[in-house]
């Protein structure tokens, strides 16, 4: 009996060590990938992840990181395919939806990028990054009325945020709502006194007013 228990303990110890060694080796792969990314060697950083993409507990994360590294190389189609593959595995992934929006935006596919970002907002209505990316898409599509409504709705949730105010000011400016645009850019300057765009718009419109 004692021999049997000792054998079991030995076996568990060995398998535990093998597992720990496997996990340690996996961490080294990740470490190597991050180090290569920092150096800008995105292709190599992606290549070291290949063994992790089809098995293991970090398979989904490996696939997402692989797609991200394709995006960083400018391989936008490969990145889009990679993120969509992750979404097929995990339809609830917010990370994959935000991930796929970046290469889509890089290709100028604003409609499709908006679709994925709106899916994120359906899952997480106050997601900051998603709101920001949706505003980028609305601006690129020149949907000024939508951008105005969108930026206004976030005022209560993020009252100290400068970026949303800048988008609101732009929406006003492009709709020729000059007074509203000026008032909003003043609010931007209260948060960021050196903001170039706000200064330029206010100075430009003050000059125009003086000429008139």
């Amino acid at each position: 009996m004692l021999k049997w228990i000792m054998m079991m303990v030995l076996l568990l110890g060995v398998s535990g060590q093998v597992y720990a060694q496997g996990e340690a080796a996996g961490v080294e792969v990740w470490r190597s990938s991050y180090a290569l990314e920092i150096k800008g060697e995105y292709e190599k950083a992606a290549a070291v992840l290949l063994p992790l993409m089809d098995e293991g507990s970090n398979q989904e994360y490996a696939r997402m990181r692989y797609a991200w590294l394709h995006y960083m190389q400018g391989n936008f189609n490969d990145a889009i395919r990679g993120y969509k593959r992750v979404l097929k595995q995990n339809a609830r992934s917010i990370d994959a939806r935000l991930g796929v929006s970046l290469p889509l935006m890089a290709q100028g596919r604003w409609q499709e990028a908006s679709r994925y970002v709106k899916q994120v907002l359906a899952l997480s209505p106050l997601h900051y990054t998603a709101h920001l990316r949706l505003m980028v898409c609305e601006e690129a599509l020149r949907h000024w009325a939508d951008l105005e409504k969108h930026a206004l709705s976030l005022g209560a949730t993020y009252p100290s945020d400068t970026t949303f105010l800048v988008y609101l000011a732009r929406a006003y400016a492009w709709q020729n709502k000059v007074e509203d645009a000026q008032a909003t850019y003043w609010r931007v300057l209260a948060r960021y006194p050196e903001h170039l765009e706000a200064r330029k718009y206010i100075d430009g419109n003050e000059s125009a007013a003086l000429v008139q």
Partner: protein, 293 residues
């Protein structure tokens, strides 16, 4: 006798709401009209046209357009000539990362039916494929267009090669586009003795800072000679047997509320009928209203 016809596509403000049911589709409708006055022409007085164009695109991907137009040409003597036109276009994009931009395959088809109340009858069919490249930053554009047109009345066919280059400058506030029209009719005998024509069209577009709703202004000029041209930008077939010998146009586009835009264009073209040595000019005004969803 062939008539000088200018074909524009138009905007319909009555586009049904169901067509915009899905956010994945972006659609637009255009209602347009034009009036042309001829000066010093032995045969033509004026022309008026009106039409509708509808377009839809799915998620920055495939798209199609359909249009119809009617033009009436008032002749100096004889009955007016009526031209009814149909236009269809399909486009398919491919995002080419290795080239850093989008390739678009496009195929246009035109069908024109011209007649007056007497015996004059002409049908024109044209097919125009093109391949275009626009880089991701939308600062550089190039395309190669080809058009093959068939004029049934005299068994005349016309081939056209139209390469185009465009680029932005001045921090993307301006866009300059140049297009060559190299047109070759199948028979010079059927075309006033004109074997080939060569023309250069240049268009400059300037984005305006938001003011009084005006969005952009544009100026265009045509140098050289052009006959039987197929214009992909205007979705037009210039079913004209008289040689166009230059032209100039200028216009503005305004953006109003809820995706409604308007375009106003005025232009001047010079023509020569080589058979009768009839040199004349046309002045035209074009107005379009569009709505997009």
């Amino acid at each position: 006798m062939r008539s000088s016809m200018v074909f524009f596509m138009g905007v319909g403000l009555c586009f049904p709401a169901w067509a915009s049911a899905s956010e994945d589709w972006s659609s637009s409708a255009v209602l347009q009209s034009s009036y042309t006055l001829y000066a010093d022409s032995d045969k033509r007085n004026s022309a008026v046209s009106a039409g509708v164009l509808m377009a839809a695109d799915y998620l920055d991907g495939v798209g199609f357009s359909l249009a119809g137009n009617v033009l009436k040409l008032d002749m100096a003597s004889g009955d007016p000539i009526t031209q009814k036109s149909l236009f269809a276009s399909g486009r398919y994009p491919y995002y080419a990362d290795s080239l850093g931009g989008k390739l678009t395959f496009r195929l246009d088809a035109h069908s024109l039916d011209l007649s007056n109340d007497l015996l004059y009858q002409e049908t024109v069919k044209s097919i125009a494929p093109s391949l275009a490249f626009l880089n991701y930053s939308k600062r550089f554009y190039v395309d190669m267009g080809y058009a093959y047109s068939m004029y049934d009345n005299n068994n005349l066919t016309v081939q056209q090669f139209s390469p185009t280059v465009g680029f932005s400058f001045n921090q993307d506030a301006d866009w300059l586009q140049s297009r060559i029209y190299a047109v070759r009719p199948s028979s010079a005998n059927l075309d006033q003795g004109v074997a080939n024509t060569l023309a250069l069209e240049m268009k400059w577009t300037h984005a305006l800072a938001p003011n009084f709703g005006l969005e952009r202004m544009f100026v265009s000029t045509l140098l050289g000679e052009r006959v039987y041209a197929v214009d992909g930008d205007a979705a037009a077939v210039y079913s004209l047997s008289d040689v166009q010998q230059g032209g100039f146009s200028a216009g503005v586009q305004g953006a109003w509320f809820d995706g409604v835009k308007s375009t106003l264009l005025v232009g001047y073209d010079a023509y020569l009928n080589q058979s009768t040595n009839d040199a004349y000019t046309s002045q035209y005004v074009y107005l379009a209203l569009s709505k997009s969803w």
